[in-house]
Symmetry: C2
Subunit: 230 residues, 2 copies
């Protein structure tokens, strides 16, 4: 897929174009299957030109990964309006949409084992995890999150990663189903933690008061009630 640029690009434009092209290729293929020649061809550039901008594939991979991480972290941002579980549901929709459109790259990144995976890639993964955790705690707005609450949030983020990987591999359920289930899993995990932290319980009670019957929490309560009646 060659794309010849219509006019001579500036240094910054060329650099950005190479990163964009690399990100696209690394999203659609495992990194070991993408070569500098592939990137050059897709950018309508020569191999020496790519090397003029980047020392090698590793550097281009890490830079495109950083961009993907920034994009993903941006998708976690959500106005602090409306029921908490509906906010999270919207965020998870954007997250899963991104994951789906970058499936091969996301899978290769999290499965690891590629020659270009390493400290640079791990740093990006950690940064995205941290951004996700910070956004959740920001929305919870708990004054002083306990270690148990922080653990619950981190563990749920791991759940979301593993579940996305699994889902990309199998596509056994529609995206919306996974989206809803992940949100409900955070809701119940928070409830388990709140069951032993009165301050958190009081805090969450305010949020629950704002939940609607049609939202993820409302639907879960409805389903649980039906479940307990069986």
């Amino acid at each position: 897929a060659e794309r010849a640029p219509r006019r001579r690009l500036s240094v910054d434009e060329r650099r950005e174009q190479l990163i964009a092209v690399a990100l696209e290729l690394f999203s659609a293929h495992p990194p070991d299957e993408v070569s500098i020649d592939d990137i050059a061809a897709a950018a309508g550039a020569s191999r020496p030109l790519v090397y003029h901008y980047f020392p090698g594939k590793q550097a281009l991979y890490e830079e495109s990964l950083r961009r993907a991480g920034q994009e993903l972290a941006g998708r976690f941002e959500e106005p602090a309006d409306g029921p908490l579980s509906e906010r999270l549901y919207r965020v998870m929709g954007r997250y899963l949409e991104y994951v789906e459109s970058h499936a091969a790259g996301f899978t290769a990144l999290l499965r690891g084992g590629s020659v270009v995976s390493g400290p640079g890639a791990d740093a990006v993964i950690d940064q995205v995890r941290r951004a996700a955790g910070e956004q959740i705690l920001l929305h919870l707005a708990v004054p002083d999150p306990s270690p148990a609450l922080r653990r619950t949030v981190r563990a749920w983020i791991a759940n979301a990663e593993i579940s996305s990987l699994d889902w990309l591999g199998e596509r056994a359920v529609p995206r919306e189903e996974l989206q809803l289930q992940l949100v409900q899993e955070l809701v119940v995990s928070l409830a388990v933690t709140a069951a032993r932290e009165p301050a958190l319980a009081a805090h969450l009670a305010e949020y629950w008061a704002a939940e609607t019957p049609e939202g993820p929490t409302g639907r879960l309560l409805h389903d649980f009630t039906a479940l307990l009646a069986t």
Copy 2:
């Protein structure tokens, strides 16, 4: 810590002794901080003798990891008697005990990034995860586990790993508290899945009928009831 063997060991005994000594060292220190010389000294053996049995540190590390994996997988086995959440509580007690007594090695293994981590180590981690998942599904005894149920189990195993790592780093709560909370998190995750799978719900209802008020599920229901009343 030198330990001179009292008598000449047979070939098999010596091999086993080296593995046991290596496992002990790799449990207490990150692999990069353990040398063949350390292992030889702790085994009361010479460096050439260690190399006579193992080609190098990598091989000794992987073999001791395999042993640790077998030991851990053995701890997942639990008779299919009594309330389900109490069985899991006992298993998690044995798991966390093992993790605690091999803290440095467990942390280094799961954090990765060591020179001796690699496909061999990953294979052991995968095997232990699979063993854990199989045991849970065995106890659930669901005739034909759905992809969503399998995902729930896998995601909870990831939760248990991340939470153990976190706990080893911070020790913010007593072991029994994490043990109980992890069990309760699986119970609620199964309930979230059962809420959309009537066959699973009917199946779990039988298990829940056997739960006691003092068990992890009973205590969770009690706490949830109190929580909803606030």
